[in-house]
């Protein structure tokens, strides 16, 4: 990395490529460069083998079959393909879609666009700010929202801001009973939690490489092929790659990188989950002790479901600082890279729709910082980041006085 002074705690936005992932990709930048669509010569053969191996590894990691993996350019495309693809194909069966107010834009925006085309979209609320299970979808409310004309529900596995882990298996059972397909945006969960499509019971699932120390520009959509086989319309037409569901020359180095990233996460999963949980808890301990009036956004750090599974992603912390503006706070500590609920991105000035959906005020949402811990986060990163935040808040509060 070019700037070793920065403490990077924005791993929900993107992660740096793991050198081991990059090493797996490099041979496909040079000697193995063939087009995986070329079946008639050795260059294409090697590229196709690499794609097949990668597909097998990725499928095995999530409990799927290789033919159920469709490679895409990333999670945004995967979500669009799943939602629009199913809605368009199944419109004759019905045009009702169910989702949740706290989904990522890459789910909410395609739904909104379908809404403008005459589809009926229901967005469910979540448990409000202040509750131990803040951010969680209510299973009974969800089941009650499914109707005869509902064709698809879309619920994320882990939220990208508040880290809440939704009860997907229970939602899937409700969908199954109602004959509704369930899509799950697992972009923040794959590689960070145990994810198995059979145990979850989902019909479609999106994920991408750059959130798990792989390259940007590649992702996948899991599409169930048995019990039931999911039917959806392709959104990009052409050479008919990926069973016709996604045309375009396969990004071989990217696919190899996705497989390497998934495999590494799987290998280190349980160690990383407990390590990041500990670091995250330490960060919260420091901030809650060192800053007056801080509030945790999202589920309690020790909240668990009926099976004892934590309700929150291990590396996630989202904190409201009350009278301090999140963007000002970021500017006051330039060596700590985090993101703020004040704006989803550098080009969108609206406060976080996720925090607003929790019932927080605009001012409260604008006072938040999101910390995303990751594989490369160390104990000293956490201590230094806590020092920096505590000092920055004190400075800003001093100025305001």
């Amino acid at each position: 990395m070019s700037d070793d002074l920065t403490i990077y705690l924005d791993n929900h936005a993107t992660t740096r490529v793991d050198p081991r992932v990059l090493a797996a990709m490099l041979p496909y930048f040079s000697e193995h460069f063939g087009n995986a669509g070329s079946v008639v010569h050795a260059y294409g053969e090697r590229a196709r083998e690499a794609v097949a191996d990668s597909r097998r590894a990725i499928a095995a990691a999530i409990g799927a079959s290789p033919e159920e993996i469709v490679f895409t350019s990333g999670a945004t495309e995967s979500n669009n393909l799943a939602i629009r693809g199913v809605a368009e194909r199944q419109r004759r069966r019905g045009d009702h879609l169910v989702s949740v107010a706290t989904e990522h834009r890459a789910v909410l925006d395609p739904l909104a666009r379908l809404g403008r085309r005459g589809y009926d979209v229901t967005l469910l609320d979540v448990a409000p700010h202040g509750r131990r299970e803040a951010g969680l979808v209510d299973v009974e409310q969800f089941a009650a929202a499914l109707r005869d004309d509902t064709v698809l529900a879309s619920v994320m596995l882990a939220n990208n801001e508040i880290g809440v882990v939704q009860p997907i298996a229970e939602l899937a059972a409700a969908c199954r009973a109602a004959g509704v397909l369930l899509h799950c945006d697992a972009t923040q969960a794959v590689g960070k939690l145990p994810v198995d499509v059979q145990e979850l019971g989902v019909d479609l699932m999106s994920f991408s490489a750059h959130k798990i120390y792989g390259p940007k520009g590649v992702g996948a959509l899991y599409v169930r092929r048995t019990r039931p086989a999911v039917r959806l319309d392709a959104q990009i037409s052409g050479g008919g790659q990926e069973h016709g569901l996604r045309s375009g020359t396969l990004n071989v180095p990217g696919i190899v990188g996705l497989a390497a990233a998934v495999s590494l996460c799987q290998l280190e999963l349980s160690d990383e989950m407990s390590r990041q949980t500990k670091l995250r808890n330490r960060l919260w301990q420091r901030l809650s002790a060192g800053v007056a009036g801080v509030e945790l956004c999202g589920p309690a750090l020790d909240a668990v479901d009926a099976a004892g599974t934590p309700l929150r992603l291990p590396g996630n912390l989202d904190v409201a600082f009350g009278d301090v503006d999140g963007e000002a706070l970021m500017l006051a500590m330039p060596d700590v890279a985090v993101s703020s609920g004040a704006a989803c991105s550098s080009t969108d000035p609206a406060p976080s729709h996720v925090l607003l959906a929790l019932g927080m005020t605009e001012d409260a949402a604008r006072s938040t910082l999101r910390f995303g811990l990751g594989r490369f986060t160390t104990e000293s990163d956490v201590e230094m980041a806590a020092d920096a935040v505590i000092a920055a808040v004190a400075k800003l509060r001093g100025l305001a006085r």
Partner: protein, 400 residues
């Protein structure tokens, strides 16, 4: 038969994909390590990634002849590659669809879309998909030389379509298309024109402004850049309906996390072309002349498809009457020469090439034609050896 383990492999399938230039691989490796941030993030790591990304975008636009900066700046939209760019161009320029009819075409229109009869599957299949949804699509015919018939355009344009999509150079025959002339006709008729320039960029001069088109597709992996990134250039003032929804990246025209490493790779590959463009074109053309001469010397009845038309300097479509193309390609693979029977998407397909069929070529040519394509690093020695192996394979197959 040859044993491929005994012969150095020769890649004459560069139209399927091209090897990365070493400096491109290095630029991507360095960018992946040096710019780990998300270009949409607000912090310094994000802003630094954003600056590099926008720098790449501007340079790529400039090198392709787009107007960058100022009040009338053209747009350079990053996509995942040529197929996505072509799909985005057709659907995005045709405009939003309401109840099976798109909004953009005027009430007097009898047609929505013109595509040529020789487009790549990423245009042809996208046009078919649109037709299934109710769009009225016409195919512009080509002549026996492999060129779109300009004379057929006025009648089609008089039916007031919204858009014409005509490729700049064909991926199977290499035949260059009269796009500047077509763009003038479209402009006069008030019809938007998009061109798929995927096979031309990095081999022949391509200038967005000089062509006079409204939109242009390019993809990096056809000119020694990485797979997984392409662009759609869109002229200033031309509306494009986004196809992906879900974020604010690229002003909403194409949401999704942008990838600095791939953009740096594309930019570096285009810079490399810029630095030697005239020399590379001349080198590729000389290799083509050498290959054609060597093949015709040994196989005087061989037919060069599109021989009467101006062609890309790196593509040769050749048919040996009496020799089946599938058998020849397999025999050449065993002999260590990689080539193809058509686009890589359709490779292995036994269907006749729609491109050659559209040209009205005789059955013997259609069933015998193979596509040979070379790249920036191909040497005269490789071409000489490839020609020798091709002639041997053809003669062997003819004796069988």
């Amino acid at each position: 038969m040859y044993n491929s383990r005994m012969l150095a492999p020769i890649n004459l399938d560069h139209n399927a994909t091209t090897p990365l230039l070493p400096e491109v691989a290095e630029a991507m490796r360095a960018a992946a390590l040096d710019y780990p941030g998300n270009p949409a993030s607000q912090h310094e790591l994000g802003r630094r990634a954003r600056r590099v990304l926008e720098d790449c975008r501007e340079r790529i636009g400039e090198l392709l002849g787009a107007q960058m900066g100022g009040m009338r700046a053209d747009r350079v939209i990053f996509t995942s590659g040529g197929t996505e760019s072509n799909n985005l161009a057709l659907r995005g320029l045709l405009g939003p669809w309401v109840g099976g009819h798109h909004v953009a075409t005027g009430p007097d229109a009898q047609l929505d879309l013109i595509v040529s009869a020789i487009e790549h599957p990423s245009i042809a299949a996208a046009a078919d998909a649109l037709a299934e949804q109710g769009a009225r699509v016409a195919r512009a015919p080509v002549d026996a030389k492999g060129q779109i018939q300009l004379a057929a355009l006025p009648d089609l344009l008089a039916r007031r379509p919204r858009l014409a999509s005509l490729m700049l150079a064909n991926n199977e025959t290499g035949v260059l298309q009269p796009i500047a002339e077509a763009a003038a006709l479209c402009g006069d008729a008030g019809v938007l024109i998009h061109t798929d320039a995927v096979q031309a960029v990095g081999k022949a001069p391509v200038n967005f402004a000089a062509l006079g088109v409204d939109a242009l597709t390019a993809t990096a992996h056809k000119f020694h850049g990485p797979v997984g990134i392409g662009v759609l250039l869109v002229r200033s003032g031309v509306e494009l309906a986004p196809q992906l929804a879900g974020g604010f990246q690229q002003a909403g025209a194409r949401p999704g996390t942008e990838t600095v490493a791939l953009a740096a790779g594309m930019r570096t590959a285009l810079d490399a072309w810029q630095q030697e463009s005239a020399a590379r074109t001349a080198r590729l053309a000389a290799l083509g002349q050498q290959l054609q001469t060597a093949l015709l010397a040994e196989l005087p009845d061989a037919i060069i498809v599109g021989a009467q038309a101006p062609r890309l300097p790196h593509t040769l479509c050749v048919a040996c009457p009496g020799v089946d193309r599938q058998q020849l390609v397999i025999s050449l693979d065993l002999a260590g020469v990689a080539c193809s029977t058509g686009s890589a998407c359709a490779s292995g397909s036994s269907e006749p090439s729609p491109v050659l069929v559209a040209m009205g070529l005789p059955e013997a040519v259609i069933s015998g034609a193979i596509r040979l394509s070379w790249g920036a690093a191909t040497t005269p020695a490789e071409i000489a050896e490839a020609a020798r192996r091709i002639c041997l394979s053809v003669n062997q197959l003819r004796r069988q």
